[in-house]
């Protein structure tokens, strides 16, 4: 089908002034959803790399306890300090507190500064208005503000590494009383940073939901929306309604930290052997409830956009419509609703009674159903398809079994009886990383390769994309598979010495404990982590090199996709569409019987006819 012609830079009318905006207004203070999407994307990828780096240092340190971290050890020694002014890494060896800093910040950065901004802020912002046929988001200036709040929060989080005592170090979960009694101001930085990040997410959520409700083009009914848009819509609601209780909790923990309140400090609390100078009367459990009320919907925020990306890429690269569109839609709505009432499955070991535990176990089991339905629909969508094994499709295909492993390994954790053994072990780490790392991140890689040509007019290198894929796929599994075994053997999370203190070697006469083979798996995992790191190098080079040197695409729709985002000029100009598009058909009209082409765009009234 003939694509739309390349339009002039400005399509559509400006009310009064019609001047070309300067560099600052065009790239830094832009209100255009596409620019903001790219801003989110680049910033998030930078944080993703930084979070990855933190993990590399941790994995190295626990595979080589007591030895200096290579290359960056001296840097840590000079830059990172304890509150007494000493180095947090004497001799280049990370001390326990520094390990905890890296651990807490790795989690925080990956979840709040990398994945959510990439999945929701970047992909959501760039693609959703295009897919629904809108000229921009409903509130462009609020959009710009949400990005700016995100950067502010990120800067505060990053800066906290360099204060005496270091950044937050009580896990990304920041449980009280540990979080507020640990000797650093890092926690206060974390809390302030979180307030900014939460504000950014709330503004973004309002924008996404309002846009999808109000700015759908004529003919774009709810059941004609691409699944990607449904996923982002539900994600918006999760962020909107689940984040505020964490914001409230964050304010209360900040009050505990700075104003000496005891929201989360129990009566009789002793710190360092001495009774704490606090009023007491608070509840540590209250923090956990408020945190996990957000924490659980948050993990669905991490996965739903990824499912949306995978769905689009599978439809396009099988040249047939998705199987079970209605099931997909109702399942994603069901996941959204249920995700609000499962949170205490993160708290089975807090001493809750059997009735309430049974409630949460039940809702947790129920929520696995729509997740399985979505995965099943995506699997069945492959059947009978004319599969094109390009790089985005490889990552999208790999997402399916990887998310499958992640999801299935979550089931034992959902039962309190099994969770008794597995809670807080490496099994949990393996479970959630499978879902987010070879799960979500693969989907986001797929999305980057997929939408890159729409953003830049060029393709990324297929060869290096495949190299990136093979390396990432192999090494992700090398890193995370062993952790299931370690966890089932009883290896606890967040141990700076990698479990050496619980090893058979250190306690030859004790029963239980960690065998040498469990501890030696750390070395295997480290090999995997380094391999994973090396595998990202072709991706980073490919990404930036292809912006100017990638193969130019011949038309605006190189993947021959049906959705509206591919029916625009490349890159789409300000205002996206020259004239308001009209959606005439379902989103995945591939291979319509009797049509001349194997795809019929959504805004095309009739399929192409054979002459």
């Amino acid at each position: 089908m003939q694509s739309t012609t390349h339009a002039a830079p400005h399509v559509g009318h400006h009310d009064a002034h019609h001047h070309e905006p300067g560099f600052l207004q065009k790239y830094i203070f832009s209100t255009d959803h596409k620019v903001i999407g790219i801003q989110y994307g680049l910033t998030a990828l930078a944080f993703l790399l930084f979070g990855f780096f933190l993990m590399l240092c941790m994995r190295w340190q626990i595979a080589h306890p007591g030895k200096a971290v290579p290359l960056v050890g001296p840097l840590f020694e000079t830059l990172l300090k304890t509150t007494s002014g000493n180095s947090a890494a004497p001799g280049g060896v990370m001390n326990g507190e520094l390990y905890n800093v890296f651990g807490a910040m790795h989690g925080t950065i990956m979840v709040f500064l990398a994945i959510v901004p990439l999945a929701f802020g970047a992909f959501g912002n760039y693609v959703v208005p295009l897919m629904i046929g809108a000229p921009d988001m409903a509130f462009p200036r609020v959009n710009m503000a949400s990005y700016q709040f995100y950067v502010l929060g990120g800067v505060i989080m990053f800066a906290s590494f360099f204060i005496p005592g270091g950044a937050a170090q009580s896990g990304w979960t920041s449980y009280s009383p540990l979080a507020t009694t640990v000797d650093t101001h890092g926690q206060a930085f974390w809390l302030v940073g979180m307030v900014f990040l939460i504000t950014s997410s709330l503004l973004g959520a309002v924008n996404f939901i309002a846009t999808i409700i109000q700015l759908r083009a004529p003919g774009m009914t709810w059941m004609r929306l691409p699944f990607f848009v449904w996923a982002q819509f539900v994600t918006g609601f999760l962020l909107l309604l689940a984040f505020p209780p964490l914001e409230a909790a964050g304010v209360m923990q900040l009050m505990d930290n700075v104003f000496g309140t005891s929201f989360f400090l129990p009566t009789g609390l002793a710190v360092g052997g001495r009774v704490a100078d606090a009023s007491g009367g608070g509840s540590p459990l209250l923090w956990q409830h408020l945190f996990w009320f957000l924490g659980h919907p948050e993990v669905y925020v991490l996965i739903l956009p990824a499912m949306g990306v995978v769905a689009e890429i599978i439809a396009c690269n099988t040249r047939k419509k998705l199987w079970g569109y209605k099931s997909l839609v109702y399942s994603v709505l069901g996941i959204g609703f249920l995700s609000f009432i499962v949170w205490a499955h993160h708290m089975y070991l807090t001493g809750m009674g059997t009735k309430i535990s049974a409630f949460f176990q039940t809702t947790t089991m129920i929520i696995s159903i729509p997740s399985v339905i979505i995965l099943t629909c995506l699997f069945i969508s492959l059947w009978g398809g004319s599969i094109r094994f390009n790089t985005p499709m490889l990552f999208a295909l790999a997402f399916l079994p990887m998310f499958g492993i992640g999801g299935l390994t979550g089931l034992p954790l959902g039962f309190a009886a099994a969770d008794l053994h597995l809670h807080d072990t490496y099994y949990v780490i393996a479970h959630f990383h499978y879902v987010v790392a070879p799960g979500t991140i693969f989907a986001l890689f797929a999305g980057i390769y997929f939408w890159f040509p729409k953003m830049t007019g060029r393709m990324m290198s297929e060869f290096w994309g495949k190299v990136h894929f093979v390396g990432s796929f192999i090494f992700m599994n090398v890193v995370f598979q062993p952790m299931f075994i370690q966890g089932m053997a009883g290896m606890i999370r967040r141990m700076a010495d990698g479990g050496a203190g619980y090893s058979h070697a250190a306690n030859p006469t004790a029963t239980g404990g960690l065998s040498h083979s469990m501890i030696s798996l750390h070395s295997v995992i480290l090999v995997g982590a380094v391999g994973l790191a090396i595998s990202q190098i072709p991706f980073i080079i490919n990404l930036f090199y292809s912006i100017k040197n990638g193969r130019k695409i011949e038309n605006d729709n190189p993947w021959q996709a049906t959705t509206l985002d591919w029916q625009t000029p490349t890159p789409p100009p300000h205002g996206n569409f020259a004239h308001e598009p009209h959606a005439h058909r379902d989103p995945y009209d591939y291979s319509l019987p009797g049509a001349a082409t194997d795809f019929t765009p959504q805004n095309q009234a009739d399929p192409a006819t054979k002459h």
Binding site: A138, Q214, L240, P245, A278
Partner: protein, 288 residues
């Protein structure tokens, strides 16, 4: 393409964009204040008997402040109605009253806060005998105003006694304590009306703990200050937005009156929400 439905309503939803936006935002605010209210309930239910503070806030002042906020709530909607009728002048007057009420509310709140910061509780190592109303009781917890070297200090805590090397201080004891039931507390207050407060001299060595009614006093004041301060921030924010639309942003009434009315309506919705929160805050914190 311009963004549609900024002024006019979208046919199938029947609403313009900003209204959808503000209701979504208000939904998130319900969750925010809801979480804080839930925390209040949990902290109160979990408190030991006699430990939960009540009856120490000034109810007449709180009632007056409630009336001030309710007034501002009606003026904001009357202002919008005036705009609907095309009467820009009347709108300006009503909104001015709204903003003045907001400032009044904040001023009164600051006065209330300040009053608390110089009001103390002393936990003593050994019990003393004080009067609750006409009744004599032996207690190790007294409330009152401290007098030291001729002035009434703010923000003292246990540590301050050591830091400032205070040997002893006077306290004008309140003839009641919050560990009394609401009925007993009201009774004690009524009985001691018009009588001078008794003054005790307390040695610092006899003090187990000293705290003003600050957030660090205990869970009640912690949640009181957090809830009311967050609410006050929303009052301030809302007032600033209403002021901007009323003042610097009023040009839009000439250029795009429908969109201007929408802005007034949307900021009004936020304002009513702020009033709504106070409708619950006032009885929960002041009366219960």
């Amino acid at each position: 393409m311009d963004i549609p439905y900024t002024s006019t309503a979208r046919p199938d939803t029947g609403i313009y964009n900003a209204k959808v936006g503000i209701w979504l935002f208000l939904a998130s605010e319900v969750m925010l204040f809801g979480a804080l209210f839930s925390s209040y309930i949990l902290l109160r239910v979990g408190a030991l008997p006699g430990d939960w503070v009540h009856g120490l806030l000034n109810i007449p002042i709180g009632t007056f402040n409630t009336a001030v906020l309710i007034t501002s709530s009606v003026t904001v909607v009357l202002g919008w109605a005036a705009l609907q009728a095309g009467n820009f002048g009347r709108y300006k007057v009503y909104q001015a009253v709204t903003i003045l009420c907001a400032l009044g509310f904040l001023g009164i709140k600051s006065f209330e806060y300040r009053e608390k910061f110089s009001h103390y509780e002393v936990w003593l190592k050994n019990p003393v005998t004080v009067k609750h109303g006409h009744k004599e009781v032996k207690t190790d917890r007294v409330l009152g105003h401290i007098e030291y070297q001729g002035h009434h200090p703010y923000f003292w805590r246990t540590k301050t006694l050591a830091d400032k090397k205070v040997e002893s201080f006077k306290i004008e004891v309140d003839p009641y304590h919050y560990s009394l039931s609401p009925k007993e507390l009201a009774h004690a207050r009524a009985e001691s009306k018009g009588h001078k407060h008794e003054v005790l001299e307390i040695k610092s060595s006899d003090v187990k703990r000293l705290s003003a009614f600050t957030p660090s006093h205990g869970p009640y004041f912690a949640i009181y200050f957090t809830l009311t301060a967050l609410h006050a921030l929303h009052v301030l924010g809302g007032a600033l937005v209403i002021f901007y639309i009323w003042g610097p942003g009023a040009k839009m009434w000439q250029t795009d009156p429908q969109r201007y009315m929408n802005r007034v309506e949307v900021s009004g919705l936020f304002w009513h929400f702020v009033d709504l929160v106070w409708i619950f805050l006032f009885p929960v914190l002041y009366l219960l």
